[in-house]
């Protein structure tokens, strides 16, 4: 495992060194989007329907209830959850060769966990720390050049790809310090159930923040499944590229073709 990490680190550093000469100008992407296949579309659509059912019966009503809580409680919860997520972000910053970001995020985590009382208050942002951007193992694999594989819809968890699903497994085989401390930490403050509660709360928090936008998307889609798939894959593409999302997402080919027809 140690050897694997060292080799991966060297590969990542070399890869980033090779890209260091790019000019970063405002040119739009000339690369056509990688066509990620929906190899299990029938099964995926069935799982998607199941998830929609669960959302209707459980997640959406809970999220609506959560939205009724005072905004200070909700923002404190969001801040604390985001603070915990930096325990996955920091090792991924390192694995992607982003050592400066790893340092900044570590500082942010220390400040928010102590002065910000377990991350409830985002003191680091008030101290003008740079904007926090989440990273995960799926993104790291993508940054290393590993292909996404097929698109999959997981029960309860929702859209993913084979690569991103494998990335999530890394969390539970030692990649997530919060999971490790909760399940193997042998301490009186953390436990398996607390870890699960945190994950459920993250889901509810996300759903509550997106109540209107998801409803709106569903109402205005003729094929909601296809819309969600497109949005998920675009989101992952821009997160993996770690570049200006707008520039990366705008493949020029089709627009140019229309212009010349």
């Amino acid at each position: 495992m140690k050897k694997f990490i060292i080799i991966s680190l060297i590969t990542a550093i070399l890869a980033f060194s090779a890209n260091a000469g790019t000019d970063g100008e405002n040119s739009l992407s000339k690369k056509k989007h990688a066509n990620i296949k929906d190899c299990f579309e029938g099964l995926n659509r069935a799982t998607f329907s199941l998830n929609q059912g669960l959302d209707k019966v459980i997640f959406k009503p809970v999220a609506k209830g959560y939205r009724k809580l005072p905004s200070t409680i909700r923002s404190g919860t969001s801040n604390a959850l985001l603070n915990i997520s930096s325990l996955i972000t920091i090792p991924n910053n390192v694995l992607q060769g982003e050592f400066k970001k790893a340092g900044i995020n570590t500082g942010r985590f220390v400040v928010n966990t102590t002065v910000g009382i377990l991350g409830i208050f985002d003191v680091a942002t008030k101290m003008n720390f740079p904007e926090y951007v989440k990273e995960d193992y799926g993104q790291t694999f993508g940054a290393w050049g590993i292909g996404a594989g097929c698109y999959v819809v997981l029960p309860v968890l929702g859209p993913s790809t084979v690569r991103d699903t494998f990335g999530s497994f890394v969390n539970v085989i030692g990649g997530d310090p919060y999971y490790n401390a909760s399940t193997h930490g042998n301490n009186e403050y953390l436990s398996d159930s607390l870890f699960m509660k945190t994950k459920v709360l993250s889901g509810v928090d996300f759903r509550a923040k997106n109540l209107e936008s998801i409803d709106n998307l569903e109402k205005n889609s003729m094929d909601f499944y296809a819309s969600v798939r497109s949005l998920y894959l675009q989101d992952r593409q821009q997160k993996i590229s770690n570049s200006s999302p707008t520039i990366e997402i705008m493949y020029e080919g089709d627009w140019e073709e229309i212009e010349n027809e």
């Binding site: 739009l28 497109s230 675009q234 999302p245 997402i249």
Partner: protein, 197 residues
């Protein structure tokens, strides 16, 4: 005599300036004016139906609906007959205006601030803006792809919300419908007809 001098001065100035530039509007000002018009409607006392009608008018004037429609068909547009192109243009316009206005009408009194612009090439400028956060939603970054080839007639071709392109999402949704119906474009036409009923 004095008037004659002023007239000569004007003729002199205009002969050296590009009339297009005089009449043109900057992309960021263009976007801000759209946002202001939409905000005014959304914060007005109009009922929902009237709001939607007003928003449709704005979209009709400022979005390049015809080209956006062709874009959303991907490579399938190349196989369309002239008759199919005409049918599709009408269906897409109705579909677009309905969904666009319906999406916006949900927001009451949205505050959007234009923050910057980046000229990508002679044809496009990206105008960046942000939907100011409220108690119910976080701040949302919105980028506008403005077609600037004709400076006198700027048009919106795409909205990129938090890095997610609406045009691309629409295209992939349409392609999914076509591909799940044995590549029959008429299935998309039928679905559009059903939706805009």
């Amino acid at each position: 005599m004095r008037i004659k001098k002023i007239l000569i001065l004007f003729i002199f100035i205009f002969s050296f300036s590009n009339f297009n530039e005089v009449l043109s509007i900057e992309p960021d000002v263009f976007v801000q004016s759209i946002v202001n018009r939409a905000s005014k409607i959304l914060s007005s006392n109009l009922n929902k139906e009237n709001r939607i009608e007003e928003l449709k008018n704005i979209a009709d004037e400022t979005v390049d609906i015809e080209i956006l429609g062709l874009y959303t068909l991907g490579s399938y547009r190349k196989n369309l007959s002239d008759d199919q192109k005409k049918i599709y243009a009408v269906l897409f316009r109705e579909y677009f205006l309905k969904t666009f206005a319906s999406r916006l009408a949900e927001y009451s009194n949205p505050e959007i601030e234009v923050t910057s612009k980046r000229k990508i090439n002679e044809k496009y400028t990206i105008v960046s803006s942000s939907l100011v956060k409220t108690d119910k939603r976080p701040e949302v970054k919105i980028d506008w792809r403005v077609y600037t080839k004709n400076p006198e007639n700027l048009l919106i071709r795409d909205l990129i919300i938090e890095g997610l392109s609406l045009a691309r999402t629409q295209k992939e949704e349409f392609l999914s419908i076509i591909q799940n119906n044995d590549e029959d474009i008429n299935a998309l036409f039928e679905t559009l007809r059903e939706f805009i009923k």
